[in-house]
């Protein structure tokens, strides 16, 4: 253990002379493993607690809970069908709008826009993802809903009123408003992931297409977008998952009425809105339990939907570069 000749001071001494280092090393390893273990317990515990909380309702109603449309706290009869309907329909409207607009916008940002336009537009779209849900709800309730009622619904009713989906009176709040607000909220998810998927398409594919005489637009439409196809579908599924679980904004604009109506203008109710509105008013234990079961349904839907998105979106070439994946992840999560 002579003093080192390179001017970096003494060489480190061994464990034998410094036993506390060995202890520190062991405790750090134990802490790291314990943290991982606690995390697993937490996630499994999340599922277990939701099942535990909804046990009474699961026991009392079984599978009828999913197909019954009676939600009556007075007689303690609970069925979730209208909420499942409202959740699925509002989210599908959102996905239809945000899916189409998001992919087109991503194509522009990744392929057509010059850098000095793409950068600020991307920034604005990513910031759209950062707007809190309650602010979307506030804006949806006081700005979007009156706007749709005054300017969008009357022409739709005048020209397409014979369609059952545009029938009946429109109060400004309902499936239609919720769907459009959700579309705005999930748009950044679709656009940001699709843009990164498009950029990950190898440039040889574009060059090959140009060499065959295709225009830029034809290259994007026939070569680039299909190459990113399954990933784009995965992005849409991921966005759908966000829409299905969204609570506060939807609660403020969907009208909160447990009915199943064909018209998009009708008020409706979603799984999460019922929980948000009624949880603190639930008086009986079976009522509370039924509400927790709605949360359990949401949990199970999200596991299935995100599992599907993960299968579709996973690209080995994206994983080749750690920092690239990280940037992608951060962008995606900034959209949460």
């Amino acid at each position: 253990m002579a003093a080192s000749a390179n001017g970096l001071g003494d060489a480190p001494r061994s464990y034998a002379t410094r036993p506390h280092i060995f202890l520190l090393d062991r405790s750090f390893a134990i802490a790291v493993n314990a943290a991982a273990g606690i995390f697993v317990v937490l996630v499994l515990g999340l599922f277990a607690m939701l099942v535990h909380g909804s046990w009474e309702s699961l026991h009392a109603f079984g599978l009828r809970f999913l197909v019954s449309s009676t939600w009556n706290p007075v007689t303690s009869t609970f069925g979730a069908l209208p909420f499942v309907y409202g959740t699925v329909v509002s989210s599908l409207i959102a996905l239809l709008i945000a899916g189409i607009l998001g992919v087109l916008a991503a194509a522009y940002l990744a392929e057509f826009a010059p850098r000095f336009i793409a950068a600020p537009l991307s920034f604005l779209i990513e910031m759209l993802a950062a707007v809190p849900s309650v602010v979307f709800g506030l804006w949806g309730l006081f700005v979007l809903a009156p706007f749709l009622r005054t300017y969008v619904a009357p022409p739709l009713q005048a020209h397409l009123g014979w369609l059952p989906i545009f029938a009946g009176p429109y109060y400004g709040v309902g499936l239609f408003t919720a769907g459009i607000l959700l579309a705005i909220m999930i748009f950044p998810t679709v656009a940001a992931i699709t843009r990164d998927l498009i950029r990950a398409v190898p440039s040889e594919m574009r060059e090959g297409s140009y060499a065959l005489g295709a225009t830029r637009w034809e290259t994007v439409r026939r070569v680039v977008l299909p190459a990113a196809g399954s990933g784009i579908f995965g992005a849409c599924v991921l966005a759908l998952g966000r829409a299905l679980g969204e609570t506060i904004a939807v609660t403020m604009v969907i009208g909160n009425r447990a009915v199943i109506a064909a018209s998009l203008f009708a008020p409706s109710y979603t799984l999460s809105s019922v929980v948000a509105n009624e949880f603190t008013e639930a008086t009986t234990s079976v009522y509370l339990s039924a509400l927790v079961e709605l949360g359990l349904i949401l949990f199970l839907i999200s596991v299935v939907v995100n599992g599907l998105a993960r299968l579709l979106i996973w690209k080995p070439q994206l994983l080749a570069n750690g920092s690239r994946v990280l940037t992608w992840t951060l962008r995606r999560r900034a959209g949460a």
């Binding site: 480190p12 280092i21 520190l24 390893a29 943290a35 991982a36 995390f39 937490l42 996630v43 999340l46 607690m49 939701l50 535990h52 909380g53 998001g102 087109l104 916008a105 194509a107 522009y108 940002l109 057509f112 600020p120 604005l124 779209i125 910031m127 950062a130 707007v131 809190p132 849900s133 309650v134 602010v135 709800g137 506030l138 006081f142 705005i184 656009a191 005489g213 830029r216 637009w217 998952g241 679980g245 609570t247 999460s272 929980v275 949880f279 603190t280 509400l291 927790v292 949990f299 995100n306 599992g307 998105a309 750690g322 920092s323 990280l326 992840t329 951060l330 999560r333 900034a334 949460a336």
Partner: protein, 280 residues
């Protein structure tokens, strides 16, 4: 005569580009419209009293959301204290300590958790901490928020740590320093900017979150410093004010939204600055 109808194809291409540009501008424009509305509506009710005073009863002018702002800071702060150390440790586990199939399993659980709706996580915190104790508490809200933060902190730490070249860690180990010190003194500092970005984004995300608070923090009209009591929170106050029938509360909701959106945007911009620092 152009080959293969080139003129028509060029026209279709130009049209396509215009349409895609419109789609991108529409989304960016929506953000601008939302921001303008929040600013114009919110700036009326925004005054020093709004951020320093307690809420007043309906019908009385003035008052503020100071207790809600304090509540947000307390609830988010406790959540970060819970989630960041644990998340970074799990990240260290995934990057360096995990063996066999366990790391992949934990990464998958992280993916699952990141997709779970916040309201379901709120219900978890309720059944875990509110129901057994018999009363609402800010701490239960922090636990729910920590659960929302964890997947992001874990995933960022994991990827940031793995992005540090192996040679850096090997160099440290070759100098004879113990494994824990190689991680805490060499690899973690190198990964810190990216982890900071992830943490800031996670904090920004939960700052704007409202749903789990409805049945965890619950809200309060008063100053509350004990995290084991019900506590006011800014986004929850905005929600309550917005769905109320009173005009003066609506104004308060807009002003609250302005404060909230400013806080969230500052956090996001900080995250971007940190990310830029990491790329360099």
């Amino acid at each position: 005569m152009t080959p293969f109808g080139l003129r028509r194809r060029r026209f279709v291409g130009a049209l396509g580009q215009v349409i895609t540009a419109l789609c991108a501008s529409l989304a960016a424009g929506t953000l601008v419209v939302i921001l303008l509305y929040v600013f114009m509506q919110g700036v009326h009710a925004l005054n020093p009293a709004f951020v320093t005073q307690l809420p007043r009863p309906v019908g009385m002018a003035g008052g503020g959301v100071a207790n809600g702002i304090l509540g947000s800071i307390v609830i988010v702060g406790i959540a970060a204290l819970l989630a960041v150390p644990m998340g970074v440790l799990v990240g260290v586990y995934l990057a360096f300590y995990g063996r066999g199939p366990f790391p992949e399993g934990i990464r998958y659980l992280g993916e699952v958790l990141s997709g779970v709706p916040s309201i379901a996580i709120g219900l978890f915190a309720y059944t875990l901490l509110v129901q057994p104790l018999g009363h609402f508490s800010a701490f239960s809200a922090s636990v729910a928020f920590a659960m929302l933060m964890l997947p992001l902190v874990i995933r960022t730490s994991d990827e940031a740590l793995r992005a540090v070249p192996v040679s850096v860690r090997e160099g440290a180990l070759a100098l004879g320093i113990p494994t824990y010190a190689a991680v805490t003194h060499v690899v973690l500092p190198a990964a810190r900017p990216l982890i900071t970005t992830g943490v800031l984004l996670a904090v920004a995300r939960i700052t704007g979150e409202t749903a789990p608070l409805l049945f965890t923090a619950f809200g309060s009209q008063f100053w509350e410093y004990n995290p084991f009591n019900p506590m006011a929170e800014l986004s929850l106050q905005i929600f309550t004010y917005a769905i109320s029938p009173y005009t003066e509360w609506h104004e308060q909701a807009w002003a609250g939204a302005l404060v909230l959106i400013a806080a969230v945007f500052v956090l996001n911009v900080l995250a971007r600055i940190s990310l830029r620092g990491a790329r360099r």
